[in-house]
Amino acid sequence: MIEVVNAASLATVQDLGRYGALNLGVGVSGAMDPMSLAAGNILLGNEENAAGIEIPVFPFSVKFRTAVNFTITGADAPANLDGFALLPWWLHRAEAGQTLTLTLPQSRRWRASRAYLCVQGGIDVPMVLGSRSTQLRGAFGGFEGRPLRTGDCLPVKPSLALNAAFGLVPPALALPLICDGVPAVRVLPAAEYQDYTSEAQNALWTCAWKITPQSDRYGYRLAGDPLQPTHPLELRSHGIVPGVIQVPHGGQPIIQMRDAQPSGGYPKIGTVIEADLWRLGQAPIGSSVRFVRCTWDEALDAAADNTQWLYHARRLVALQTMRERAA
């Protein structure tokens, strides 16, 4: 068991998402930065989809009731175990009774806002509709279908002794994407792109869009040049995905994120490609993001880059584990 000692707010149990229940009205949920969750699991020898804790607000601390191997990936949140500093993106072990504390992320080396705590074997909450992710609107999945609170005890299995110590270079450093000095994500135009004025289309690709404080796991509300359509748009309700950039009447876009409802009716000017959702999921409130237009093939190549990075990480970990065994 690990006990939550200090949960400021909104930390949730997440895996890579709940797929296949859209026909019940159930959205995907899952880690805002799936690369970091997968990497933490790879370091621990878990399945990439094992559940971890997504931590967006700091400080956050847990007490280990069981000896557990763990990782902290995602944001560079200074962490300590009973006062001893820990490296991020590195394999660690906690003995029963030790307390782990994470504090506000630093952006000296890479800019990110969410940390992931993964444990060997994964957070052992029940699988609901094919996933361990928290479904906040439906109040199921994760830990009792809600964000974590102080005093919650999460089920984990005890880990065997750790005889290796190694880490990974974060994808934020290995796969950077910057446009004119501003962190960027790639976007494919969506159904209503052609219904926007040329000024609006131009603004979409050139504006540094500010992520306002009204941004969370449901969606990011952006501030920038208002995007106006050439004529009023009335749409029928249809399925949408995380990454869709909707434009309500005011002209300030909203990007739907992992907890967004899986259908909607606002006009869509574009969609952040699936391969770049992890970058967006880490973008801090108050920071800016650029949209870079891409083609279908470029978007699939970007997904292949992520797959390649994860494959490389698995190989490194497998090699290291073999060396430790041989030694």
Binding site: L22, G25, G138, L188, R236
Partner: protein, 219 residues
């Protein structure tokens, strides 16, 4: 003369959106259901999700040869036969007005009808379930009488309770759980639309129908 073609558009690399041309109607929806069933079996498709006369096709593996894939979809649509789903009819008892229907006065003001007329008109039809979406267990219903159509609220309500029966534009629906909404709430029901503990968690499925039964009118 060729018929207007359905519109295809990308939702990133996650999905493709297929939108049928023409007015929203039941015949087209039956074709969407048929297309959904067909496409669900295609390689690389994770889930085909009907909307209101449209279909979102979510990829497990997005196809490299997108144009060939789109052409296959258009060909399939041209030859598909409607799938007339005949589901169950579920009666939903509703308390109209009062505390559970805080926006009924706005519907009265907009339509110029009395509360009794609104209740009679709203509870008269058998509403077909076209699709599920929005949140777990929520149904998009067809067939609301245009006389009680009321525009969405200018300022959305941050939290309306599960069971809220509401009107948004020319659609009506029932919230399955607490959440934000821009629709006008005219009544409330105790019916449970989603329970993850059940074998089939959602009470309703496309092809089912809903009849609102007047339990009480609170003036």
């Amino acid at each position: 003369m060729s018929e207007p073609r359905p519109r295809l558009s990308l939702l990133g690399t996650s999905a493709l959106l297929f939108e049928a041309p023409g007015e929203t109607d039941h015949e087209t929806q039956a074709m969407i259901w048929a297309l959904s069933k067909e496409v669900q079996s295609w390689d690389g498709v994770r889930e085909a999700v009907p909307g209101m006369n449209n279909l979102m096709i979510n990829f497990s593996v997005p196809p490299r040869a997108l144009e060939r894939w789109e052409a296959r979809l258009q060909d399939t649509w041209r030859t598909i036969k409607p799938l007339p789903l005949q589901g169950r009819l579920i009666e939903i008892p509703v308390i109209y007005g009062g505390e559970g229907g805080p926006h009924i006065d706005d519907v009265i003001a907009h339509t110029g009808l009395s509360i009794d007329e609104i209740v009679t008109i709203h509870s008269a039809p058998i509403y077909p379930v076209y699709a599920l979406g929005s949140h777990p267990g929520y149904c998009y219903l067809g067939g609301m009488d245009a006389r009680i159509a009321t525009p969405r609220r200018k300022v959305p309500v941050l939290k309306i309770p599960g069971g809220a029966v509401s009107i948004g534009g020319n659609q009506t629906g029932v919230s399955a759980s607490d959440g934000p909404s821009g629709w006008n709430t005219i009544g409330t029901t105790k019916m449970e639309f989603f329970n993850v503990e059940r074998d089939s968690p959602a009470l309703l499925a496309p092809g089912d129908s809903v009849k609102f039964v007047v339990q009480e009118v609170r003036r």
